[in-house]
Point group: C2
Chain length 369, copies 2
């Protein structure tokens, strides 16, 4: 995996530490465009427009973003002779951090990782002893780097647990993109595929194109192709037919939020894939870090579902594909009931029903670790 064909980094610091460089995922696979984000507006826009997307990656982006903004604040405090850096400046920065976190938390409502990462940044800001803005900014940077590094480790561990489910010469179906482009590491749903490839197993991936924003055909197909993994794209509606004609060994998907009972919010279309898998007795697995598990959400009915703008469906390719004023119903996510899910894989292992028990144990174990 560590060769020239690996997908480029999804996110990194600017050289001065006061901004982020992201790969604009809305431009793939045509163009590899990097964008610099230097304001809270930039970060918010990048998240809302899905320039960065994937539940883990938007958490990382928000955390790194807050740290970059804090760095800018500290630099300004240093260069402002009338207001020397000290406890007053640090307190002002704390207030700023709170406002940035509140704003970014609202950028997308469904993925719990965003709120979770920002909660960690806010908590870091609050528990900082009275010092300077510079010290606070440095703490925030360390925390953001730690969130990023933890995500990388969690991806790796998810891959190592789930690779046991795969076989040489086998095939899997995935929906949307829960790969390296969605995380800080080797992905969640795709992590076992990358680990299998490292170990010399050949695994074929079927990638649903994933309307309306085509994360499957644009991103999953691209990153797997870059890594030399065999990938075939199909339309979302064709997945049920595939399971009749040439059933994959299993379905592997990521998640934006997992309720305490094991109901899973993921990209719209996932529920239909789960129904088709269930009908054909194809095992259906969800792969996500324990940070995606929200024990405060009892079940899927309580997960807030983001709806997207009509023109993503009516004219999503720069071309009118529907009457320009037609009504559109466009939820970004759907909820797959726990009853259709054969297993949930986190960095703690492979969890089986009843999920009320197994997920709670996994989350508690992760907290102790």
């Amino acid at each position: 995996m560590k060769d020239a064909t690996q997908p480029p980094e999804t996110i990194r610091w600017t050289a001065d530490g006061g901004g982020l460089v992201i790969l604009d995922q809305t431009r793939l696979p045509d163009d590899r465009i990097e964008l610099e984000l230097r304001s809270v507006e930039d970060i918010e826009e990048a998240i809302c427009s899905l320039r960065v997307r994937g539940a883990p990656l938007i958490g990382i982006t928000a955390a790194l973003g807050v740290a970059a903004l804090a760095h800018q604040f500290a630099v300004r405090s240093q260069s402002e002779p009338r207001v020397p850096d000290g406890p007053a400046a640090a307190a002002n920065l704390q207030t700023e951090v709170q406002s940035w976190c509140e704003r970014l938390t609202r950028a997308r409502p469904t993925a719990v990782n965003l709120a979770w990462a920002l909660e960690r940044m806010l908590s870091t800001a609050r528990k900082q002893p009275v010092g300077t803005a510079r010290e606070l900014a440095e703490s925030l940077r360390r925390e953001a780097d730690e969130i990023h590094a933890e995500d990388r480790r969690m991806c790796r561990r998810i891959g190592e647990h789930a690779v046991q489910l795969l076989r040489d010469g086998g095939s899997v179906l995935t929906h949307c993109n829960a790969g390296s482009l969605a995380t800080g590491g080797i992905g969640t749903a795709l992590a076992p595929v990358y680990v299998a490839a490292e170990r010399g197993l050949r695994v074929r991936v079927f990638a649903d194109e994933t309307r309306p924003l085509l994360q499957g055909s644009r991103l999953t197909a691209w990153e797997l192709g870059q890594a030399g993994i065999d990938v075939t794209v199909l339309t979302d509606g064709a997945a049920a037919m595939l399971m009749s004609e040439d059933p994959p060994d299993m379905v592997l998907v990521g998640s934006d939020r997992i309720a305490a009972n094991g109901d899973v919010a993921n990209k719209v279309g996932t529920f239909a894939v789960a129904l088709a898998a269930h009908h054909h007795s194809v095992p259906f697995y969800v792969l996500a870090p324990t940070t995606t598990v929200d024990l405060n959400t009892p079940d899927g009915k309580h997960i807030p579902i983001e709806h997207r703008a009509p023109d993503e469906v009516r004219a999503g390719f720069g071309k009118l594909t529907a009457p320009p004023d037609v009504d559109v119903w466009s939820p970004a996510f759907d909820v797959t009931p726990a009853s259709l899910i054969d297993g949930i894989v986190t960095e703690q292992g492979i969890h089986r029903p009843p999920y009320e028990t197994s997920l709670r144990a996994a989350v508690e174990e992760a907290r102790r670790a």
Copy 2:
């Protein structure tokens, strides 16, 4: 329905009777472009490229096309003094008709209506007593007009049977386009919606966009909007979520071929909708003329399924939406098993399981009529 907002005619004769004028459905909803077809190559290309599509309409197009070509042949015979029109010219035309029918039958393999309509044209050509090419061409024109008129009547009767299933203020979900653009009349799946509108019932239609060629968002949404019927577009993957959140009263779809046991081939994605409907106890109905029932095909496994070109998925909007060389699996149709279908509506009535019996009775009744 007979007002200025009605969708334009899908097909008509040219003024001279030697060609067809079709609405190019690949250009909707942006442009209303009419094309003239004057050769067997033109007709074949229009069917293969889905400029005309919908199982009933491709049968009508092929039948009218053969008659138009026969008309041209007869005119040439009249104007060719060395070969006076007579039994020899008629026999030559019979041979030509056979060759046109064989060629056009191969244009698309799944819809049985195409083969059925061409079989009728061929049989007309064969049973013609020895006469002139002009007489034979006139018989073929009458037969083609009759196929077209029968289709219009069948659509109306399907609509009148199925309208009993609808209620004022209700809603239905449909997939692909089985409306007026797919037939010579008011459609099959959409026929009861048009009949309901004529009777003053308000019925809301949810239209799956239907990847890859977007017949739902481009065609169904457009023709219903033209007729003033409330329509909402959703992505194919969102249908299962809709059935959880705001379930429609029922699903209404068309078909390209119905096997003797009630298994139904229809546009890819239909099977997934049927699974979602079944999971949510939403009734699932298939609407098609008895000419779509193929008693010679015992079950869905025996229905030939057309596969489409990869670029319809990779670059279907004039824009690359996947890596340019990625593998694509793109069946045009899928098979919904009879066990997921609550009823099949033909011009003979609403048929219920066991379909082996009810469909056979309907087909026999249609033959007697």
